[in-house]
């Protein structure tokens, strides 16, 4: 190929020089020519050799004749007609093409009944199974009945003498739609208008239960009057029917196959929607169009939605796709772009495209990155800088603190991650910068999977390496990573310090308004919430909301902060907004949706709506399972809240099982000092109380209290829970004085948190009730009926038996 450098003439000046000499030599007699050649050879042997070769080619053209003969044969499509010339009433005229599925001939009516030309498709022997089945006939009938001027009709069909199925289709004279667009130099709007003709035809067919299954440019012709005609409607399914399975059609055209076709899963109308998206992409990918005319973001969003890997993320119908195409033509907003939140859209669209095989890509990138580094470790340092760009892709996806990365990162195989870590150790020793970068990226991957402890190790290593070699950027990054892990892991003071440092650096670099600042601020809010510093946490969150960044995430965090301040109604409003936002995304991320659902479920538990809470928690769980596989055992919050839901619904045994697992999970993922671990232990303590095991409960509450006391210098608001539990446990163990001491402290914490909001708040009421159970007096019980609140369920469950 000339593009490979073969089959090329020498450079121009050189060529002219040689050509002049060649002309000269051809004009000479044999002797003179030989003389001249030997003179030339003395000057330049290579030039003389070249000329001799050219002269030989000029003398003998037998090789050339053969080549030209082949070439012309190929050009004119050297295709013999099959021996059989008549198929049913049809007589073959000439071959018109060869496809992956069949040879195609032009044929005419041979019985003289009337004049008609058809395209006769003779299916390749390898594709024809056993003889015609009843299904084949039935499906053929369905297609033959389809009477739409935009669809080339299937007229006839049968089996050849040598057992190959054949089909006679209406003969259509036209150009493939992409050629037509190019040939007519259509502008994008006219291309989309043409595309709408195609969707109209496909949609009409779908209403008659016919699926095309092989939509591609060469099957969508446009005639000289600009009318679209679809070829080969349902032929794929027809062949599928022949193979005995109507639903599973072979992927006839691999390049245009939908993912489910490629996997040989049943095809549905969603496959046609995918192929329509691909077709539109082809129609718009025009080498001739100027860069200005490149597909705009709206069309790209439309195509992305049509070609989503998961069929259920595509348009629900061809009509919906068509309606978006019309919206584009009329400059109206597209459904594919969702409502509002424009600033985020570009990113979502990009992500959407990335979702196609993103896991494979990440996996390949990890391997490639390490492979590249391995080779380059032996080379000079400057090359390492170049190779850093390989990780840029990973970083982009696993942006520090970007919760939307979880969908992807959660599915990277564990084994691969561990391999990657090992290879950093064994192969990257000499390149601290690359090592630190990769360790940070891997830390982020683990963090996004909720594996805090592992993430922390990696960030620590990256940080140490960065510090030793003075790598400022990586140092900041590992600090940010550590801080993010710190939100749940127990080392809150240093995490807070780290986050504040990172925040200051980011503000200095990117300005107050940057999205990255907003994300760090939300992490800080999350951390402050963990420490029980609710007002400070609320302030940070409100700052983010005021700038309208990351609103779903901010509203979720705010909901959690409000909940723990006992402000249930405000919390519910905030969570409802967060949930609506997550659900409305054109590209919902199931992991984020699951987290919001869990928070909402938690809130409903608090306010006594156990059944609704259970429904939400179940939905979150099934989302996670769907996302991460049935054996998913990663992020652990769900189990914690299901345990509480079980307790609230009077199933302490189930609650015990779930919370036991939760405690074990938290210990693995976080640290002994994690406030989450403390809270899980406290919750398990309540279960033990209900199960009448006060000694076990006592140990759990004591441990929880000790942990929570270390989370901040003052009293963590959630200390009230284990303190109340401990009071009841001590009471049951015959230590009423000690019990009163704990219940008094719990009551003080609760009053401190809530008295200014509502002196009759359920949390004060329940603390009061505990205090009275312990034998003290407490008179704050005026207020609305508060039965059913989670906190009260705990104490109420004990009232009958204990006192």
């Amino acid at each position: 190929m000339d593009s490979d450098g073969k089959h090329r003439l020498p450079p121009q000046a050189r060529w002219h020089q040689i050509d002049r000499l060649l002309e000269q030599l051809l004009g000479l007699g044999e002797k003179a020519r030989a003389r001249r050649l030997s003179e030339l050879s003395a000057e330049s042997p290579s030039l003389a050799a070249r000329l001799e070769r050219l002269l030989a080619s000029a003398r003998d053209d037998s090789g050339l004749e053969q080549t030209l003969s082949d070439v012309l044969g190929c050009l004119s499509g050297r295709e013999a007609l099959p021996r059989q010339r008549r198929f049913g009433p049809w007589r073959l005229l000439e071959p018109v093409g060869t496809g992956g599925m069949a040879q195609v001939f032009r044929a005419e009516r041979a019985d003289g009944a009337y004049t008609q030309e058809v395209a006769l498709k003779l299916v390749w022997p390898s594709l024809s199974g056993e003889a015609t089945s009843r299904q084949f006939v039935a499906e053929r009938q369905l297609l033959a009945n389809m009477d739409d001027p935009r669809i080339a009709r299937l007229l006839d069909g049968g089996v050849s003498e040598d057992g190959r199925p054949w089909l006679a289709m209406e003969y259509v004279d036209g150009l493939p739609i992409t050629d037509y667009c190019r040939h007519e130099r259509l502008d994008p709007a006219r291309r989309v208008a043409l595309f709408i003709q195609v969707t109209g035809a496909v949609s009409a067919a779908h209403r008659r239960l016919a699926i095309h299954g092989d939509i591609k440019p060469s099957n969508v012709l446009v005639d000289d009057r600009g009318r679209v005609r679809l070829l080969d409607f349902g032929i794929g399914r027809l062949l599928g029917a022949k193979a005995g399975d109507l639903a599973v059609a072979p992927a006839l055209t691999p390049r245009f196959a939908s993912p489910e076709q490629a996997d040989r899963r049943p095809i549905t109308t969603a496959s046609d929607i995918f192929q329509l998206g691909t077709l539109l992409q082809c129609m718009l990918d025009d080498a001739d169009s100027r860069p200005v005319e490149r597909i705009d973001h709206d069309l790209q969003a439309l195509i992305s939605k049509a070609t989503a890997v998961e069929p259920d993320k595509r348009y629900t119908s061809v009509d919906a796709l068509e309606s978006d195409a019309r919206a584009w033509l009329e400059h109206r907003p597209l459904a594919a772009r969702g409502s509002g939140r424009l600033y985020r859209l570009g990113r979502l669209v990009r992500r959407r495209r990335m979702a196609t095989g993103a896991i494979l890509v990440v996996t390949a990138m990890l391997i490639a990155a390490l492979g590249v580094y391995h080779i380059q470790a032996q080379r000079i340092a400057t090359e390492a800088a170049v190779s850093l760009s390989v990780t840029a892709f990973l970083e982009d996806m696993l942006h520090a603190g970007d919760p939307y990365a979880v969908d992807v990162s959660a599915r990277i195989p564990d084994q691969l991650l561990e391999q990657a870590v090992d290879r950093v150790d064994s192969e990257l020793g000499q390149q601290p910068k690359v090592s630190a970068r990769i360790l940070n990226v891997l830390g982020e991957v683990y963090h996004s999977r909720g594996e805090g402890r592992r993430a922390r190790e990696l960030f620590e290593r990256a940080g140490t390496l960065a510090a030793r070699h003075g790598l400022v950027e990586e140092s900041t990054r590992s600090r940010a990573g550590m801080a993010a892990v710190g939100i749940w892991s127990g080392d809150y003071a240093s995490a807070e310090q780290a986050l504040r440092t990172v925040l200051a650096q980011q503000e200095a670099t990117h300005g107050q308004e940057a999205a990255v600042v907003a994300r760090t601020r939300l992490q800080l809010a999350d951390l402050l919430h963990s420490r029980g510093l609710y007002q400070a946490a609320e302030e940070q969150t409100l700052q983010v909301l005021a700038r309208r960044h990351e609103r779903a995430w901010a509203q979720r965090i705010l909901g959690m902060i409000l909940r723990d301040q006992g402000r249930f109604e405000e919390a519910e409003a905030s969570l409802a907004q967060a949930l609506a936002r997550e659900r409305e995304r054109p590209d919902p991320h199931r992991d984020m949706l699951a987290i919001v659902l869990e928070h909402y479920g938690q809130l409903l538990l608090h306010v006594g709506q156990a059944r609704n809470a259970q429904a939400m928690l179940d939905e979150a769980l099934s989302m996670r399972r769907e996302l991460l596989g049935p054996d998913w055992d990663g992020l652990v919050w769900t189990r914690h809240w299901l345990g509480l839901a079980a307790l609230a619904q009077g199933q302490p045994e189930r609650a015990e099982r779930l919370l036991d697992m939760t405690v074990a999970d938290y210990r693995t993922a976080f640290s002994e000092h994690s406030h989450l671990l403390a809270i899980a232990r406290s919750d398990l303590g309540w279960v033990q109380l209900v199960l009448e095991r006060p000694a076990r409960a006592e140990a759990l509450f004591t441990s929880a209290i000790r942990s929570l006391e270390q989370v901040q210098s003052g009293d963590h608001p959630r200390l009230a829970e284990p303190l109340m539990g401990l009071a009841l446990a001590r009471l049951a163990l015959g230590e009423p004085a000690d019990a009163r001491r704990h219940s008094a402290r719990a009551l003080a914490i609760r009053r401190n948190l809530l008295a200014h909001i509502d002196p009759a708040h359920p949390w004060i009421v329940s603390a009061c009730r505990t205090h009275r159970l312990a034998g003290a007096s407490c008179d704050e019980e005026a207020g609305p009926s508060i039965n059913g609140y989670l906190d009260l369920i705990r104490t109420a469950a004990l009232q009958g038996s204990e006192i």
Binding site: M1, D2, S3, K6, H7, R8, L9, Q12, W15, H16, D19, L22, E23, L26, G27, R53, L54, L55, S57, A58, D61, G63, L64, E65, Q66, T67, L68, S69, D70, V71, L72, G73, C74, L75, S76, G77, R78, E79, A80, L81, E94, P95, V96, G97, T98, G99, G100, P176, T178, D179, K216, P217, S218, T253, R255, Q281, C282, D285, A287
Partner: protein
């Protein structure tokens, strides 16, 4: 196209009017392709194709049906030869373009053609590339080549059409053959 119209075009083309030549080419181009298909269907696969059979049969066919009013066979052959050259170059261009953009939808049919006879397809593309380059370097070389190999014109007929001596025409043919064969063998 009427007889007189065609002849007028031909005269204009011979007079060096590039638009007339272009129009003439498009006229023959499509016919030639269609005829070639029909012809090939009749030729059994084991028969090698003489390079000029295509053009000659096309002419016979059209003349027989009185569809193509031409004063001289050589005129027609020369036009056909140029058309064939253009078909080959176009094919080469399409394929090269496809190599640049993986998603070129046209990729399909040609890939399928290549599947049936990949070697000839490769030779065809290579030939197109060389013809295109050579055309840019020395147009006369290519014209001599196509008339001789695609049109089956004699060196004398070629000499007349190129307005050179017979010996010069022979050298042109030899030179073009040398360059093209040499490049194809590479």
């Amino acid at each position: 196209m009427t007889r007189s119209g065609f002849n007028a075009l031909l005269t204009a083309a011979e007079g060096g009017d590039p638009e007339a030549w272009q129009e003439l080419m498009t006229l023959v181009y499509d016919d030639l392709k269609r005829i070639a298909h029909r012809q090939m269907a009749r030729i059994r696969p084991e028969h090698t194709l003489s390079t000029t059979v295509l053009v000659h049969e096309a002419f016979e066919n059209l003349a027989e049906q009185q569809k193509l009013p031409v004063r001289e066979r050589a005129d027609f052959y020369a036009i056909c030869a140029a058309a064939i050259r253009q078909i080959i170059i176009d094919h080469h261009r399409k394929r090269s373009a496809r190599k640049r953009t993986m998603d070129d939808p046209q990729g399909w049919s040609a890939t399928e053609a290549a599947r049936s006879n990949p070697e000839a397809e490769n030779a065809l593309i290579a030939l197109g590339g060389i013809l295109e380059q050579l055309l840019a370097r020395d147009r006369q070389l290519v014209e001599a080549f196509e008339m001789y190999y695609f049109g089956g014109l004699s060196s004398e007929e070629i000499a007349t059409r190129l307005q050179v001596s017979r010996r010069s025409a022979q050298r042109l043919i030899a030179r073009s053959r040398a360059w093209i064969a040499d490049a194809l063998i590479d």
